[in-house]
Subunit: 582 residues, 2 copies
């Protein structure tokens, strides 16, 4: 067990490449940073992590799963705020025109980069003479923003710009209305999506940790903001979280507080009960992947660092050998930001109405519009202006007049006295609201890497065993004929076919010594190695060798699949499986 | 059963949208042609079709599955020939600049569009005065090519162009070397990939049939061209295929010939045994999806219509109600086109070497290079030229000289007599070859649609039953408490939890009359509806209603999951499951 920090990550990378978990894509063209290819073991591990995630986050809550496009038109990401905010500061060498992440470059040259550092300040710092271009040694820099979404054009018209989605979330907001209808008016409504997302990094360099193309598993949980309580809270309120709240982070403290969910909610450290609930699930899910609780923490994003849509965000971080604390999930309280924005832009009503038993009185702002005054000011445009004005929310009109001094409709600045506001009180049996959203969001490739790193173990010098949870193992069983005899090979293949038919991921290997075959199986985490030998031909038994203990056990072939299935499912069922969502 | 042709497709589309199988994406912004969103039922159906496909094409052959990037740099699709060939003819109205598929437009105006019609000829036809722009009525047209790949830029340098892949295949070619190494030198080697692909259609209009973003399941089967026989042929050679060979297609005949695989191979109608083998699997796979053999056919692509890489292609077509014969899969013999192209461009050796028992004599072309002559012509560049020349294949150099009159290295046109060619005979115990490739390739969305259309059935007027194979049903069981009583609801949820734990996709529904609940379940193809009633509380039995016969049966709760699992797997195991690949 004398692994140096560097070497573990390196050995794991070498193993992942040699055995085909994953490797940098397009090696034959020198590679393209930020893109990976996954081989069979990677594909299977990914699938099993997804299955486990669905157990934790989707099935038991009866959430609905969707699959929306990866390419979306400009409008979607304009409305979501990504066009405005999804940018990195970029420094360009004025001589050779090499481009770098400006903040990373400053940090490499020993600068402290405060939050929300302006482009102007970065430019000043970069041009102080000591920050040299790695390519040409020049010290003069241009600094600007780089939009980190992949752009494309949809169809043959160059003005129809589109983007590869940087998160799967928007599809769940744009399709919310239909999803709500399909669910026959369920509220709260949980929607899940698993799929690719893209981030056009300026110069990614951390292998599997910083990818331009990656996979996400996200839930958007829609709830009534006037009924924000989590009815599952009693299941989790005594759970402890290792947490760094905003004020702790702001002080630069790195050591998390340990507090129960109840405490965190009482102290306002977590602002929303559902947010807390999903954070606990997230912790348990990672524990199941093999990451101990003391190697996990929840790190608050400071207001300036949070995504533009979020009222509170905790990064769920994992301690990795080479990379330090790495975010593998984000838990954000997105409020009604996205739905409201899409509602405003599309003019499609995305609010939910609730029938009340008793009528309630609601105050409402009403506009009295003086058409005559508008006609006097804009005689040619009056009908368009009136139509536009009627389509607007009185609250918004009032705010615009207050903020900007007047309201502009159809390009016309209306006279101040053309619109009057009166507050009216109405009785109604309908309450309308725009759902709020809490979002747990996971990056699959980072989870794969973290899972592998925590499973990586050297039993003896250079004898690698991947101690991955049996139900997550890409290959769950291997069948070996002890010697290369036709009858043993045939028997082994029959055993394999039977296990495969029971849904077990199984391989066959008859090349090399049995010791080498065990070693090859250990290295990719096969929990059970099954060997047929001469005794098998006599009494129809096989040996089953355990990956972690290297102990062997003789089992009758007819009991084999049941025996393995039980061990494969053991410890993989949810610890909370008895508690129903309803 | 009085469905008119139009109405079935329309009803299915309405059902798919209302129940959340799939619908046009971004309806709130008026939709974007060519993009769909899938709801829970669509996601689950897709997953089950993928699982069945893996049973047919991947697992039983021990093929390896990969997951490679969706975005690739320009080079990949330049080398693959897509930049040159993946284009549609586009007509642009010279007045309002609306753009149309030129060939489609001509056909709409009654023109016959022959294969390989040139852009010039299209321009002539379009400008004869009768082809009016649908937008503005103008009759003058510009005609050109439109590259139907989505373009993007990778990273911050505008010259680093990339594309969204139009097929998953290239990733399997570019990563071939590693895949071959990971497989420890397996040949033949089957590689599978399932994932998104993109085609930037000019103006897609056929809903689910013509998408800009879609999903594929592809196998690239690599084999030794000097050992092209399929060792599984005996399993399929007596199978009949409904086939339209090239000469039949060329005559304009639409009625397929029915012939056995053996005949088709003997007559040269199918050129490669593996191609024939996968065509039979393809037929059987579609039959399992519920598409009868007489609604399927294999349609040869004529040389001019085939993709640039293919020596033979059969489209696997299915007869659909509204769309006619629609391609759901393609079977192509890609030869060594892709590997050779990537090998040439990258200078990475992608050939395979086989150790021979007996040495063989091979003839080889050798270059004798006269460095002096090169030095005389290009004194400054001689070392670069020599290095370049040594890295080139003598066959290629000879061909270039023959075709172009000289060879150009490092931008220098070498003197004719600087290189001499001699044929040498060598003895070797190593044979080298570039694998040939046969490719079965499926479009998932079209399979989903075809599956639903063939499952769609109206039992009585307006009483819809989706008679989908139980193992493919998105939801496999529904649990209903007969009446809304706490104890029955609780019991029903316990039954649900138990079935879910056994891996059955199950829903719970307690709203509305039992008749309405059955109807809702039938309409989405739930094969088994389980009802708890007062008797359940006495003797722990439930009724199980069959979707297709509407017959009910009383079953003990303790036997329920086994009973359902058996029915769910019945008819879903492979009919060829006994026959092993080895």
């Amino acid at each position: 067990m004398n692994l140096t920090k560097e070497s573990k990550a390196e050995k794991l990378t070498e193993l992942a490449r040699r055995r085909g978990f994953f490797w940098p894509a397009l090696e034959l063209y020198g590679g393209v940073s930020g893109f990976l290819s996954f081989g069979e073991l990677g594909v299977k591990l990914k699938e099993k992590i997804i299955r486990l995630w669905r157990d934790y986050f989707v099935y038991r809550h009866d959430f609905t799963e969707v699959d929306t496009p990866l390419i979306s038109p400009y409008t979607v990401f304009e409305v979501s705020g990504h066009v405005e905010s999804f940018k990195d500061p970029m420094a360009e060498c004025s001589k050779c025109h090499r481009k770098f992440r400006a903040d990373h470059l400053l940090m490499e040259f020993g600068r402290h980069v405060p939050e929300r550092m302006s482009i102007e300040d970065m430019k000043k710092e970069l041009n102080k003479g000591d920050v040299k271009c790695k390519e040409c040694g020049n010290t003069k820099w241009d600094v600007g923003h780089f939009l980190t979404m992949f752009r494309t054009t949809i169809g043959p018209y160059s003005e129809n710009e589109g983007f590869m989605r940087p998160e799967t979330a928007q599809g769940m907001f744009t399709e919310f209305k239909r999803l709500y209808e399909v669910s026959r008016g369920k509220m709260p409504l949980g929607v899940a999506q698993i799929g690719k997302a893209f981030r056009n990094e300026i110069s990614p360099r951390q292998g599997v940790i910083r990818l331009r193309e990656f996979s996400m598993m996200e839930v958007e949980f829609f709830f009534d903001p006037s009924d924000p309580a989590c009815h599952l809270l009693d299941q989790v309120e005594d759970e402890e979280l290792r947490i760094l709240p905003e004020e702790t982070v702001a002080k630069g403290i790195e050591e998390p507080l340990v507090m129960t969910v109840k405490e965190a909610l009482n102290k306002g450290v977590i602002k929303q009960e559902w947010l807390a609930y999903f954070m606990v699930l997230s912790k348990k899910f990672l524990r199941k992947l093999g990451i101990p609780e003391d190697q996990q923490r929840f790190y608050a994003k400071l207001p300036g660092e949070r995504a533009h849509y979020s009222a509170q965000t905790y990064d769920h971080e994992v301690l990795l050998d080479k990379f330090g604390w790495v975010e593998v999930a984000g838990h954000a309280y997105r409020t009604d930001y996205d739905l409201s924005s899409h509602m405003k832009k599309s003019s499609v009503d995305l609010s939910i109405s609730v029938q009340l038993k008793e009528p309630i009185k609601v105050k409402r702002l009403k506009m009295n519009i003086d058409a005559k005054k508008i006609w006097k000011a804009f005689p040619d445009k009056v009908s368009g202006i009136l139509k536009g004005l009627h389509g607007m929310n009185p609250e918004d009109v009032k705010k615009e007049i207050e903020d900007l001094g007047a309201v502009v409709v159809e390009g016309c600045r209306l006279p101040m006295d053309a619109v009057e506001f009166v507050e009216v009180e109405e009785e109604t049996k309908v309450r309308r609201f725009i759902p709020h959203v809490v979002e747990p969001s996971f990056g699959i490739e980072r989870l794969i890497y973290a899972t592998l790193e925590y499973a990586y173990w050297e039993k003896e010098e250079r004898r690698v065993v991947l101690r991955i949870l049996p139900c997550l193992a890409p290959i769950q069983a291997a069948v070996f004929p002890l010697v290369s005899k036709k009858r043993l090979q045939k028997k082994s293949l029959a055993v394999l076919e039977d296990l495969r038919r029971r849904g077990i991921d199984v391989i066959y290997d008859d090349s090399g010594s049995i010791g080498r075959r065990y070693a090859r199986a250990d290295e990719i985490g096969v929990p059970f190695s099954i060997t047929t030998d001469y005794q098998t031909l006599d009494d129809d038994t096989v040996t089953v060798r355990d990956r972690d203990t290297w102990k062997q056990k003789r089992i009758s072939v007819k009991d084999l699949s049941e025996y393995l299935l039980e061990l494969l499912h053991y410890n993989c069922s949810l610890d909370e499986s008895k508690e129903s969502y309803r």
